[in-house]
């Protein structure tokens, strides 16, 4: 879809002539009058794709984060219709989510032969990843490979049309510097080891092949590669969502109540961090009290400026759980810079997916807020691109 903006409505006559520059999709009108040249620029801007990177070690295309994000933009994200049923891609009206596992250069057998895990950069084709993300960002469709997680093979490619918002999700969105530079915004989902263990128990214990030992062994075996290749990416992220065990319940090792920290980089273009009460100050807030009754273990918020890998950041932290709708609304009404379009939008989004994991704690809350921030960033970027060519040069 091309957007053409016209800055002059004067009719063409013999004093007008134009040249067009096909690479930049701009048409220049030159008009001579009294020996003075007036240039009017008409720009047909090809759709510019906004690219978001999400680093997560929880598989692709199904993560609740993705669902919440695409839902903020409206519409449900679904796998491409009529294609490979094992496709990892999700498409909605505005967004396309690509799983970076599709850029594995080695399939399961290949990795076994070479002795590398999927976490290892040697198992991934960063050149192809860069080329294709770059192409999609410039509005060019690509034939993207499909990595089939069931068979462990690389299947025939699928055609991906450039969307308005491209999300690349996986283990290495920020690993390669060239790909990193293409990202308009990046998020790292940092799950602590205790929480990871608890979640994997919930995920796998029902499977007859698994036991506590096997789950533990799997996490331990992947740790060295994870720490060497995946974890260092968090220093590049614009936002980090850190998930830790709660501090409200002593010795809680079930991982049900969570302490979640939203670490937001300062100075990122089009991104204004969320804050509590007074920007830049340090706040500790327990909303439960006279106006709001909460059930055990309650809710505790913290907000403070901090330093993260030598960057200035702001951190909003939530420990505890929401038990009722009015708790959620109350909390939302006290947070600032949420980029909501109306009062209660965060609550509404949370309720829309109330059956998703994390809907009653900071993971759902911060994922939703990041989704709104991305929408805000997208709208600012698009508005900025539309007004930029409005400078008509006068010679």
């Amino acid at each position: 879809m091309a957007v053409s903006t016209i800055y002059s409505t004067q009719a063409l006559n013999s004093t007008h002539f134009f040249t067009s520059s096909s690479s930049s999709k701009q048409v220049f009108f030159y008009r001579r009058q009294n020996n003075r040249r007036f240039n009017t620029i008409i720009t047909c801007a090809a759709q510019q794709t906004v690219v978001i990177g999400l680093a997560a070690d929880s598989g692709c295309g199904k993560s609740t984060f993705m669902r919440r994000l695409t839902s903020v933009f409206g519409g449900a994200a679904e796998p491409p219709k009529g294609g490979n049923p094992d496709s990892n891609t999700l498409i909605s009206d505005m967004t396309t989510v690509i799983c970076l596992d599709d850029y594995h250069s080695l399939d399961r057998t290949g990795r076994k032969e070479k002795g590398v895990t999927a976490l290892d950069p040697r198992a991934n084709d960063f050149d192809l990843m860069y080329e294709q993300v770059k192409a999609l960002k410039s509005g060019i469709a690509v034939e993207k490979p499909i990595y089939n997680h069931v068979t462990g093979l690389l299947d025939a490619p699928e055609l991906i049309q450039p969307p308005k918002i491209l999300v690349i999700e996986g283990l290495h969105p920020m690993f390669d510097e060239r790909v990193r530079d293409l990202l308009d915004f990046s998020i790292y989902l940092d799950i602590s080891n205790e929480v990871k263990f608890a979640w994997k128990i919930q995920r796998d214990m029902a499977e007859r092949g698994h036991s506590l030992e096997s789950i533990k062994a799997s996490i331990e075996a992947r740790k060295p590669d994870f720490e060497a290749f995946i974890d260092p990416q968090k220093q590049y992220a614009d936002a980090v969502i850190e998930v830790l065990p709660t501090q409200l319940i002593p010795d809680d090792n079930e991982g049900k109540v969570l302490r979640v920290r939203l670490i937001m980089k300062e100075g990122v273009k089009y991104f204004s961090p969320v804050y509590l009460f007074d920007e830049g100050s340090t706040i500790s807030w327990i909303p439960c009290g006279r106006k709001l009754t909460c059930s055990y273990p309650g809710i505790k918020f913290n907000y403070a400026p901090d330093s993260y890998f030598d960057h200035e950041v702001s951190v909003v932290e939530m420990d505890g759980q929401f038990d009722r709708l009015d708790e959620l609304i109350y909390v939302e009404s006290h947070l600032s810079n949420l980029s909501t379009k109306f009062y209660g939008e965060v609550t509404q989004q949370m309720l829309k997916h109330a059956d998703f994991p994390g809907s009653n704690n900071g993971t759902g809350l911060f994922q939703t807020i990041v989704g709104l921030k991305i929408r805000d960033l997208y709208e600012q970027l698009i508005a900025n691109k539309a007004t930029a060519p409005a400078e008509a040069a006068k010679a």
Binding site: G59, G115, H149, V150, A221, L292, R324, L325, I329
Partner: protein
């Protein structure tokens, strides 16, 4: 600023173990098992039960569960020799990959009511994979 919701009631938000009380209005209701095959108007979404609808998906679920069992056994054996070896790391990474694939399928069916074979089976209802699975 009042903390109580304006409509006066309280709605339970689910904790991980409790499902949400209210239901979203379904777009199409009706038993899938006995549904007469007819052309659905575009845009209408079917509400599928939270288990595999097609035989192909059921087979895939079972295959993944088997693979988990196999690969856990394999990894345990390989790692007996040397827990730090590359073979051991790769073996457990495979277990992780297959466990995640299994969980993804479960979530797709349960939370999203999407059978991955849905659109394939719309086009090819006569294939073996697309037979309706009956428990």
């Amino acid at each position: 600023m009042s903390a109580t919701a304006s409509h006066g009631g309280v709605m339970m938000l689910p904790s991980p173990s409790r499902p949400l009380q209210h239901q979203r209005p379904p777009t199409v209701t009706g038993s899938d098992m006995f549904r007469v095959r007819r052309k659905e108007p575009r845009g209408l979404r079917l509400v599928v039960a939270a288990t595999a609808k097609y035989k192909g998906t059921k087979m895939r679920e079972e295959k993944l569960s088997e693979m988990i069992e196999e690969k856990v056994k394999e990894a345990t054996e390989v790692c007996e020799a040397d827990v730090r070896s590359e073979e051991c790391k790769v073996a457990w990474d495979e277990v992780e990959e297959v466990s995640q694939a299994r969980a993804d399928l479960r979530i797709k069916l349960k939370f999203l009511n999407q059978d991955p074979l849905e659109s394939f089976c719309q086009e090819n209802p006569e294939t073996d994979e697309c037979r309706i699975y009956e428990d």
